[in-house]
């Protein structure tokens, strides 16, 4: 199918984009990489009256300060893989990006688009939860910062209001030496995940000091697993009891079955992926 009619506006600057978005309110939408919005428009699942093309705006840098990595909204997925400091500081994020779609999608899809689209199993949304990223959101009145945990509200629903635009996502740098892993299961290579797990750990004296675990596929948005995180801290890297952690998470969640997978299958899958992700992160930490 083909999209219905709309009016097209090319944003010449961030301020121009914000003015246009303020003017159109509910009827306007940013167009970034188009890799999620255009399929929805072609299928007539979305029919915005005004598209504000932000694809050319210079929000295309991955920048590092002493305390954080700031990813511009127009950073293409591929850029994470080309920047060695991403893999160094955020190994689970780096690994997650390799699972986003296919090379052509990674060339054109953007961070702002993926986070704003908020697919329940989007890899970047999970990574934002895992690493406690902060969304930097602007409108014509100013800027606000929204923690990832407050940003993703439901499937395809975020805290963004009409007239607002995500300009960057800020990832606080984990302590030096943090290890991580991301594992996913999808029906075919490049498909959206059925479920995925990200793990990030800090280490002291051969043991897990702190752990973060994020999970997609359990709820309509990515979640953290604070109980499992507590359980892991203090465990030796050589015996993190990952199976028990996986079973505990599987027992705590209440996923909805789909035409593809039953709820029980999802629970079993998430338990298994959790164990694998913990084992991989610990093995990586131990081998350094």
């Amino acid at each position: 199918m083909r999209p219905s009619s709309f009016r097209y506006h090319k944003a010449e600057s961030v301020d121009h984009a914000l003015e246009l978005l303020a003017r159109f309110g509910e009827d306007g939408r940013p167009l970034a990489g188009g890799q999620s919005l255009v399929p929805m428009m072609n299928l007539r699942l979305a029919a915005p009256e005004h598209l504000v093309d932000i694809g050319g705006l210079p929000l295309t840098d991955i920048a590092f300060t002493d305390t954080a990595m700031r990813v511009g909204a127009l950073v293409r997925h591929r850029q994470y893989l080309a920047e060695p400091r991403v893999a160094h500081h955020f190994p689970a994020l780096h690994e997650a990006v390799t699972w986003i779609g296919h090379p052509t999608i990674r060339e054109n899809g953007t961070t702002g688009g993926s986070l704003s689209h908020a697919d329940p199993t989007a890899e970047l949304a999970l990574a934002a939860m895992l690493y406690d990223a902060v969304m930097i959101v602007r409108n014509t009145a100013g800027e606000r910062r929204i923690a990832a945990a407050d940003f993703f509200e439901d499937a395809y629903v975020t805290a963004l209001q009409p007239g607002e635009m995500l300009v960057a996502a800020e990832f606080p740098l984990p302590p030096v030496g943090a290890a991580g892993a991301f594992v996913e299961f999808a029906e075919r290579r490049g498909d959206f995940a059925i479920a995925a797990i990200g793990v990030s750990i800090t280490v002291a004296d051969g043991r897990i000091a702190t752990a973060a675990i994020a999970c997609s596929g359990a709820e309509p948005r990515p979640i953290r697993a604070p109980e499992i995180e507590m359980m892991l801290s203090g465990r030796p890297l050589t015996d993190p009891q990952s199976r028990a952690a996986g079973r505990r998470l599987a027992a705590a969640i209440d996923p909805v079955g789909t035409f593809l997978t039953t709820a029980d299958y999802r629970k079993a899958l998430i338990g298994e992926l959790t164990a694998r992700a913990i084992d991989t992160a610990c093995a990586r930490a131990a081998s350094r």
Partner: protein, 166 residues
């Protein structure tokens, strides 16, 4: 609403008047008469419509033509002309990388930059890397083995003959 846009398609700049809702794939097929741009699914799932926008592969069905004002577009027609002389096209022919041919322009436009990058590195990729590179393209005929073999051949032959030296 219609907008005048200038596209440089396969090296020739032309201005066309389009409705914003028109997909780049349709504008290339209908306004530029480039029937090598194939539309399989029109929602990003099959890779048939892959073209290059300013040198980067992109799905022409997930692109509005108005987004490409001032940009350079290359379609499969620019690869090796009607005789399909490009080394990757030749390798597809030799290795039975196509049957009905519907998916072929998309595979070629997706894989040509990958082949160039491998030749520049002087490295023959593992089959798993080739399969990852073409994972966004669907072929209902060949079963993919011939396509993997074609990529391997195109890279190997160009490295051996020393063409495309960095």
């Amino acid at each position: 609403m219609t907008i005048d846009i200038t596209l440089t398609v396969n090296g020739t700049a032309r201005t066309v008047r389009v409705e914003p809702r028109r997909l780049l794939a349709d504008v290339l097929r209908h306004d530029f008469a480039l029937s090598g741009v194939h539309v399989g699914c029109a929602h990003g799932a099959c890779g048939c419509c892959t073209v290059h926008v300013d040198g980067t592969p992109r799905l022409a069905c997930l692109t509005f033509a108005v987004q490409c004002d001032g940009k350079a577009i290359h379609t499969v027609e620019s690869l090796g002309g009607v005789d399909a002389t490009h080394p990757l096209q030749q390798a597809f022919s030799i290795e039975h990388g196509l049957q009905c041919g519907y998916c072929t322009p998309g595979f070629l436009m997706t894989l040509a930059p990958f082949v160039d990058a491998m030749v520049a590195e002087r490295r023959v990729p593992e089959d798993a890397e080739i399969r990852e590179a073409m994972s966004g393209n669907i072929c209902r005929c060949t079963g993919y083995h011939g396509i993997v073999a074609a990529v391997r051949r195109a890279v190997t032959e160009q490295i051996e003959t020393g063409s495309a030296q960095p």
